[in-house]
Structure formats: structure tokens, C-alpha cells
């Protein structure tokens, strides 16, 4: 019981936090099901349901759910008595309306706590239900959420078609979002699909025990690639633009992955290499006053990558002897130095200062100009594919193994005859090459470069995405970029809460799943082995600690 109350209070504090920073109200502006459920309400239900599920038994679940609502109800009561929005800008009248459904504070408190209890009970019931039920409910709800939240995009895609597709769209969507009948249809379809899939899966698993994991993985990767190739052509230029950005971050992610994931060198100045790539392409191709040469993009790109490698090695040289968390701060300082110099009047005659460099031409093949976001996306895709191949080969090479040894223990690695200086400098240099390539494409994408595009935030973004995806894992990088870069781009109105989300994701991932969403095999084995030894340690500690 006490546990249920604590869980409820924890989730309740989360709900109050959401309300206080304004996310809740922003989410409330977006329907999932028109005139029935907003994203904000769904988030509250999810919190209460989660608390209920964690509390395990049904009764406790309801209690935990109700308690989840208590802090929010208290906030509501205070808000209805004292206007708080002169200090807390998010605690506005609109929020009050949302929480009370416009029925006044007393009814609002009752609705919140009642709703919380029901959601908590639901969560607990779901947790204790049979897999058959869960296999239907989870995919169904998730499908509704996706279909509702991304309705604009999906409608835009479906609009291009007439006939049965158009009829289906009219049935499922009204012009402002998912209709109730549409939601029910999607739920049923997704649930059926998932049940059938689960059934087939089990049948297959029974027939061939063990299975060919490698082949299966290749097939899955192939499907993902096919979707990536087809999607932007079907979905139009906005999706193309988002995917292009995702592609650039995948490139950078793979580069940082060599440094952090394989070699264990936590580099927070990574953005400097990206900037070098972008600025050298700009200087080599631009038609403006700062240009040094008038090369075509295809000549400038390899030179930019080469320059990025040189800068990467120069960047790595002074910090060779710095380890661990000191390295993180030192590289961050180096990255900031690069930015300060680029921004200053001192370097302005060469680099354009705060005004940046303009008029960078788009790449062209013969007479065909790669001008649209979709065609630039294909350029990024090809670059990423080449980079991924290089990264994959590096991972399994002698150098890759040397990096892993370096990550695990520098001293032992040196004792085993690994040339630390060479291995580290190669990590910086090759990592920088990926970022330089990304920067080069970035420059032509924007046709201009400004120092303000190269903030520390980019380094942190890249770090966050490889952590979310799984350090040292290539598919993890892709997954991380889609989740951390693609999703926020598609959910534009939550743009300002993006970094709040990043911060929360970093903390939660480190606590619950440090190996990432799609971990590399080696990492997973290591972490699990670590769990086992930790458990042993804890057992060993527990013995002498008991007699006091």
C-alpha cells in the first residue's frame, strides 16, 4: 500500500511538472480523436495507468492511479484560488479549463481523482491480463495514437489517391483529425493484425527452434531501407526534408559512435568537425565575397572531409593524455573555442563573422541540380550508406578491436601492445570525417552557413541519439536519429520542449536501459555480465553487513 502511494506520488509529481512547464497544455491543443480525447488527456491517463501497472494488484492500482491525480488536483485547487500565472507562465486559465473540463474546481478535483483511479485500475488489470489481451490492446492503442497524432501528415499522403484509399480516408478522418469511428476501426484492425502476426510467429517458432537470426536481421534491415527509399518519394517534400535532417544526424551519429561507442572517448566538441566540414565547403564553393575558390560541390566535398580529418587529429593531439570526464570537459571547451573564434570580429575577414557565408550552390550532376529536399535526401542516403559500410567494416577490423580494448581499459590495452596514440588519433580523425561529410551536405542544404548553427547543442544532440540508440550499435544510431531528430521535427508545436525531452530521455535511459534501445551484441553481453557480477558483489556485501 505504501509502495502504491509512493509510486502514485512520483507519477503525480511528473504530472504537475508537465503542467508547470506547459507541455500539458500544448499537448491539449492536439486531438487524438476529435471531440473525444486530446493528447494531453491521453498523457495524464497514461501516467495514472502506468502508476497502476507498477502497483501490480488491482486495488493498489486504483489507489496508485487516484494518488497520481492528487498533486495535480492540489495544484488545481491552488490555481482556482490564487492566480499563479504572473510567476508561472504556464499555469494559465486555459490549463485550469483543461483540468476541470470547464466544470469548475470542485467537479475538476472529482474528475481528476476519479479518472486517475479508473486509469490506474485499468493499468493494473492490463498488467495482470493474459498475453492474448495485451497483444490486442497495446498495438491497438499505439496505432490510434500514431494515426491521431500524425493525422496531418497521413492525410497529406493519402490525399494523393482516389478510389478505395480516398474512401477509407474519408471514413477514418474528418478534416481536423481522427474520428471516433475511425479510431475504433483502426484499433480493431491493428489488434487483429497483431493477433494474427503473433499466431504466425509462434507457429514458426515451434517449427524451427533456434532460427537463423542473422538472415532475419538482414531481411528486417532490407525492409527498413526499402521504406526509407520509397517514403520521401511518396510522402512529399516536407517528409523529405525531415528525413534529410535525420540522415545528417545518422552520419554524425556514426562518427561519434566511433569515438564514444567504440573507443570510449566522450567528445563534447564534436560539433567543431561538423562546422569545419560546412565552412570548408562554403569557402570552396560559394559565390560570395569570402569564397576562396569556385569548385563544384563534388570536388569540395572530399576536400572538406579531408580537412575535417586533419582538424580531428589536431583536436585529438592535445587531449591525448586526458581521460574520462576531464576529456568530456576539455573537448567541450575546444568546441566552444572554435565557436567563439568563428563568431568574433577577429576571424571575420576570413569566415564572415556572425553574418556567415551566403550563396553556396546546390550540387549538380550534369545539368540536373539536386535542389529539392528529396533529391538532397537521396544524396544523404547514399553518403550514409557508404559511411555505414565503412563504420561496419571498421568495427570488425583490427583497429575496431583496438578501440574496444582502449575503451575497456586504457592501461591494459597499452600493455597488450596497442599503440594508444595511433588508435586515439584515428578515432578522432575518422569520427571527424563523418561529421565533416555531414557538414558539407548541410552547407549545400542551407546554401549558407552561420556560426550560430554550430552550438554545443549539436554535440549533445548527437551524443543523446547514440545513447538512446545504443552505444556502439549502427542500427541504434539510425533508430536514435529517428526518435530524437525525426519525431520532434514532425511534432513541430512541441519544438520548444524538445530539449526537455532530451534531458529526461538521457536520465531515464541511463537509469533503466544504459545499453540503449537497439544495443550492439557486445555491449549487451558486457552489461549483463556486469549485472551478474554486481549481483554477486551485492550478495557478498550482504553477508558481513548483517550482524551488527
Amino acid at each position: 500500500m505504501r509502495r502504491a502511494a509512493l509510486i502514485g506520488l512520483g507519477f503525480g509529481a511528473g504530472a504537475v511538472h508537465l503542467a508547470a512547464v506547459g507541455v500539458l497544455l500544448a499537448m491539449h491543443q492536439r486531438w487524438i480523436i476529435v471531440d473525444a480525447l486530446t493528447l494531453g488527456q491521453a498523457a495524464l491517463l497514461l501516467l495514472a495507468g502506468g502508476a497502476g501497472a507498477m502497483a501490480q494488484r488491482q486495488v493498489f492500482g486504483a489507489v496508485a492511479g487516484a494518488i497520481t491525480a492528487v498533486p495535480l488536483a492540489a495544484l488545481l485547487a491552488v490555481m482556482s484560488l490564487v492566480p499563479l500565472n504572473s510567476v508561472f507562465i504556464a499555469l494559465s486559465h486555459d490549463l485550469l479549463d483543461m483540468l476541470t473540463l470547464g466544470l469548475g474546481p470542485a467537479a475538476g478535483v472529482a474528475i481528476l481523482i476519479g479518472g486517475g483511479a479508473i486509469a490506474g485500475l485499468g493499468g493494473a488489470l492490463l498488467r495482470n491480463s493474459s498475453p492474448l489481451v495485451r497483444r490486442a490492446v497495446f498495438p491497438g492503442t499505439i496505432s490510434i495514437a500514431v494515426a491521431g497524432v500524425f493525422q496531418e501528415l497521413i492525410q497529406l499522403m493519402l490525399q494523393q489517391y482516389e478510389g478505395p484509399v480516398g474512401d477509407f480516408r474519408d471514413f477514418v478522418y474528418t478534416w481536423e483529425g481522427l474520428s471516433l469511428q475511425g479510431a475504433i476501426t483502426i484499433f480493431v484492425l491493428a489488434a487483429l493484425f497483431s493477433e494474427v502476426l503473433g499466431f504466425v510467429w509462434r507457429m514458426r517458432a515451434e517449427r524451427n527452434v533456434g532460427g537463423d537470426h542473422r538472415r532475419e536481421r538482414m531481411i528486417r534491415a532490407g525492409i527498413a531501407l526499402a521504406i526509407l527509399i520509397v517514403l520521401p518519394a511518396v510522402a512529399g517534400s516536407y517528409v523529405g526534408q525531415v528525413l534529410m535532417l535525420v540522415g545528417l544526424y545518422i552520419l554524425m551519429g556514426m562518427g561519434l559512435n566511433l569515438e564514444v561507442g567504440l573507443a570510449g572517448l566522450l567528445d563534447l566538441g564534436f560539433v567543431a568537425f561538423f562546422a569545419v566540414g560546412a565552412y570548408s565547403t562554403a569557402l570552396l564553393t560559394a559565390g560570395s565575397a569570402h569564397a576562396l575558390a569556385d569548385l563544384p560541390f563534388w570536388m569540395a566535398m572530399p576536400i572538406s572531409v579531408l580537412l575535417a580529418v586533419v582538424v580531428g587529429v589536431l583536436f585529438g593531439l592535445p587531449v591525448l593524455g586526458v581521460r574520462g570526464d576531464y576529456l568530456a570537459v576539455a573537448t567541450m571547451g575546444l568546441g566552444e573555442i572554435v565557436r567563439v573564434i568563428v563568431q568574433s570580429d577577429f576571424a571575420a575577414p576570413l569566415l564572415g563573422g556572425a553574418q556567415g557565408i551566403l550563396e553556396i550552390p546546390k550540387p549538380r550532376i550534369g545539368n540536373f541540380v539536386l535542389g529539392s529536399p528529396v533529391s538532397l535526401f537521396y544524396l544523404t542516403l547514399v553518403a550514409s550508406a557508404v559511411a555505414a559500410f565503412v563504420a561496419w567494416r571498421l568495427e570488425n577490423s583490427r583497429l575496431g578491436r583496438a578501440w574496444e580494448a582502449l575503451r575497456d581499459d586504457e592501461d591494459v590495452a597499452q600493455a597488450l601492445g596497442i599503440n594508444l596514440i595511433r588508435a586515439k588519433l584515428l578515432a578522432y580523425g575518422l569520427g571527424a570525417a563523418f561529421a565533416g561529410l555531414a557538414g558539407s551536405i548541410f552547407a549545400t542544404m542551407l546554401t549558407s552557413v552561420y556560426p550560430s548553427s554550430f552550438q554545443l547543442l549539436i554535440s549533445i544532440n548527437v551524443l543523446a541519439l547514440i545513447i538512446v540508440g545504443g552505444m556502439g550499435s549502427l542500427p541504434g544510431v539510425v533508430l536514435g536519429s529517428i526518435v530524437l531528430i525525426g519525431l520532434p521535427e514532425l511534432l513541430r508545436e512541441f519544438g520548444e520542449y524538445r530539449y526537455l525531452f532530451y534531458g529526461a530521455v538521457l536520465i531515464v535511459m541511463m537509469r533503466l536501459r544504459p545499453e540503449g534501445l537497439w544495443p550492439s551484441d557486445v555491449r549487451q553481453r558486457e552489461l549483463h555480465a556486469a549485472d551478474e557480477t554486481l549481483a554477486l558483489d551485492a550478495g557478498a556485501d550482504a553477508v558481513p553487513a548483517q550482524p551488527r
Binding site: 511538472h17 508547470a20 512547464v21 506547459g22 507541455v23 510567476v87 508561472f88 507562465i89 504556464a90 564514444v260 570510449g264 566522450l266 593531439l317 592535445p318 587531449v319 591525448l320 593524455g321 586526458v322 574520462g324 570526464d325 576531464y326 568530456a328 570537459v329 576539455a330 567541450m332 571547451g333 575546444l334 566552444e336 573555442i337 567563439v340 573564434i341 563568431q343 568574433s344 570580429d345 577577429f346 596514440i421 549533445i460 551524443l463 545513447i467 520548444e496 520542449y497 530539449y499 526537455l500 532530451y502 534531458g503 529526461a504 530521455v505 538521457l506 536520465i507 541511463m510 537509469r511 544504459p514 554486481l534
Partner: protein
């Protein structure tokens, strides 16, 4: 003899020596150039020094938080700069109504005490909460996970404050008594500088006494020396860690209010730069070393304030003031590369470095 020495030299050493020589050359040539040109008079130099001491005393207070937490947990509390920011915000929401009602002008002592008190309460609570939620689960984890989690906490705090109070820069109250200056020997000494330096010295002295003389402070030093041995001696390590965060958070809150009074503004990202610089100051003084952090803070403040004009003006760099952060970051990196155990060289840090 010389030939053998050169043969043993590798490329890395050459680069590092080049770096040292380059930085020293810039400092020496720049200083000489500036002094020969003599474009600045004594009063201007005095202003630079005064500002350096003021900002240095603030860095010193922030650096204490880094150094104590690092001593006890071996963790860079990446979010410490943002804890400074929470203090500045809390102070703002007390100082603003007090300023509007004229109380800050009529009763400066009581009003400032109230502002500082609220700031300290808020920053201390935030510090303790972050420790409980984000750092305690990593107590026994080695590797990058704790640092990455700390980066996450930093982001989370910044963005939470942005969400709650908006992203606009808010200007801090500027009562006339702060703007007034004393006149000593023909130099102008701004009152706010005297207040900031004086109070910073007072609070740091108090902190030093707490760490050196009280039971809890002794326990803290014991944990910093050897956590496991301290635990075996019956010291409650959790309590010590919380105590460390309380002390660090309180200093950060005071520093936040002072920083905001000096620069006259608050916004959600304000903690980042002073945080990183103060970390540099803590390393400079030898991380884990409390007097070292204080000295490091003052040193960094002075270099940052006097440096641009003294070093860079002489070699003809335009608008050297823009490169103030460059000097601070260069100092930080030089320290991390060449003297990771700091100028005072604490034995504790040498074990790690």
C-alpha cells in the same frame, strides 16, 4: 646528448610543447605590447581588477560546489551551473516585488537577506533533489553513465525553468544604492562589488569552518579521502553526500543571486558558462581541494577580466573583449591537459590523474 634527446621526442610532445610555447608567447608579447602602447590608464586597470575580483569571488563560490561533490562522489556535477541558475531565478522573484514596493531601496540589508535566503532554499532543494533522483542510483557505477546522466539533468533543469518562466531574458532590479561607488585614493569602487566580494568571503569562510570544525565536515573529508573506509568506520555515506549537496547548493544559490546582480539579468541558460568556467577554476585549484577552489575562482576571474586587454590588445586583435570566453576556455583546457591535479596539487587528485 642533445641528439639522443631529440631522437626520443615524438610528435605528440612536439605539439604539446608548441602549445605551451605559443600560449606563453601570446601572453608575453601581448602584455609587453599593451604596456608599451599604454592606451589604458591606472583607473581603467583598476576597474578591470575590481571586476575580476568580483566575478572571481562568484566563480570561487560555484567552484566550491564542484570541488566538494567531486571529492565525495568523483562525479562532475554537470548540472551545478544550472543550480546556480535556479538560485538566481528564485532571487529574482523575491527581489522584483521588493524592488517595486520600494523595500529594496529602504531596507537594503533586510531585503538582500530575504533574497539570498529564498535563493539558497530553492537552490539547495534542487541540488538535494537532483542528487536523490539522478545521482544516487549511479553511486557504484563506473564509466560514462553518471556523467551522461548529469548532462541530462542539466538539460532538464534548464528546460524546466524555461517552460515555467519563459525564455525571455528578465532584467534584475537595479537599486540606486548598488550603483553608487566609494572613492578610495582616487579610484572608484562600486558598492555592489564590495558587497559581493565581502559576502562571498564571509560565506566561504563559514563554509571552510563548517568543513574543518564540525562533525559532519570531518565526515565529509573522511568520505572524500576514502569512501569505503569511511563507511566501515560507521559514517553514513548517504547523509554525507546529501550534506555535500546542501553546502554546494547553498553556495550556488548565493553565487546565482550575485551573478544576476552583477550582470543585471536572468535567463534559463545563464548557468552554463559560469558553470563550466567554475569547473575550470576547481580543477585549477586541484579538484577536491576547498581552498584551492576559492583561489582558482579568483584567479580565473582576474585572468578573464584583465586578460583580453592585457594579452590580446597588444598583439593587435580587434575587439578583444569578445574573446573573453576564449581566454577562460583556453585556461581551462591548458589546466586539464598540463596540470590535471591543479596548481595546489592535492594528493587525492593525483591518484586519479
Amino acid at each position: 646528448m642533445v641528439g639522443r634527446y631529440i631522437a626520443r621526442l615524438n610528435a605528440v610532445d612536439v605539439v604539446l610543447w608548441g602549445l605551451r610555447v605559443g600560449v606563453v608567447a601570446v601572453v608575453v608579447i601581448g602584455t609587453a605590447g599593451t604596456l608599451i602602447k599604454g592606451r589604458y590608464n591606472a583607473a581603467q586597470w583598476f576597474d578591470f581588477v575590481m571586476f575580476g575580483l568580483t566575478i572571481g569571488s562568484i566563480y570561487a563560490q560555484i567552484a566550491l560546489g564542484y570541488t566538494m561533490v567531486y571529492g565525495v562522489l568523483r562525479l562532475i556535477n554537470f548540472a551545478h551551473g544550472d543550480i546556480v541558475m535556479t538560485g538566481a531565478f528564485a532571487g529574482y522573484f523575491v527581489a522584483m516585488p521588493l524592488d517595486r514596493s520600494g523595500f529594496l531601496e529602504d531596507q537594503p540589508v533586510v531585503a538582500m537577506a530575504a533574497v539570498l535566503l529564498v535563493a539558497v532554499i530553492v537552490s539547495t532543494s534542487v541540488a538535494v533533489l537532483t542528487e536523490r533522483i539522478a545521482y544516487r542510483p549511479f553511486r557504484r557505477v563506473v564509466g560514462l553513465a553518471p556523467l551522461i546522466c548529469a548532462i541530462g539533468v542539466s538539460f532538464f533543469l534548464e528546460q524546466t525553468f524555461r517552460g515555467m518562466f519563459g525564455s525571455a531574458v528578465k532584467s534584475y532590479p537595479d537599486p540606486p544604492w548598488q550603483r553608487a561607488a566609494f572613492h578610495v585614493l582616487g579610484f572608484n569602487v562600486p558598492r555592489i562589488d564590495v558587497l559581493v566580494i565581502g559576502l562571498a568571503l564571509l560565506f566561504m569562510g563559514l563554509l571552510y569552518l563548517v568543513v574543518q570544525r564540525t562533525r559532519m565536515g570531518t565526515a565529509m573529508r573522511a568520505v572524500a579521502e576514502d569512501g569505503e573506509a569511511a563507511a566501515l568506520m560507521g559514517i553514513d555515506v548517504n547523509k554525507v553526500v546529501v550534506f555535500t549537496f546542501v553546502l554546494g547548493g547553498a553556495m550556488a544559490g548565493i553565487a546565482g543571486v550575485f551573478y544576476a546582480f552583477v550582470y543585471k539579468q536572468v535567463y534559463f541558460l545563464m548557468g552554463f558558462t559560469p558553470g563550466i568556467k567554475a569547473f575550470g577554476a576547481a580543477v585549477l585549484g586541484g579538484i577536491g581541494n576547498i581552498p584551492g577552489a576559492m583561489l582558482g575562482g579568483f584567479f580565473l576571474g582576474m585572468v578573464e577580466s584583465v586578460g583580453p586587454t592585457l594579452f590580446l590588445d597588444g598583439i593587435g586583435i580587434p575587439a578583444p573583449y569578445q574573446l573573453r570566453d576564449l581566454i577562460a576556455f583556453t585556461l581551462l583546457i591548458m589546466v586539464l591537459i598540463f596540470r590535471p591535479h591543479g596548481l595546489l596539487g592535492e594528493a587525492l587528485a593525483r591518484k586519479r590523474a
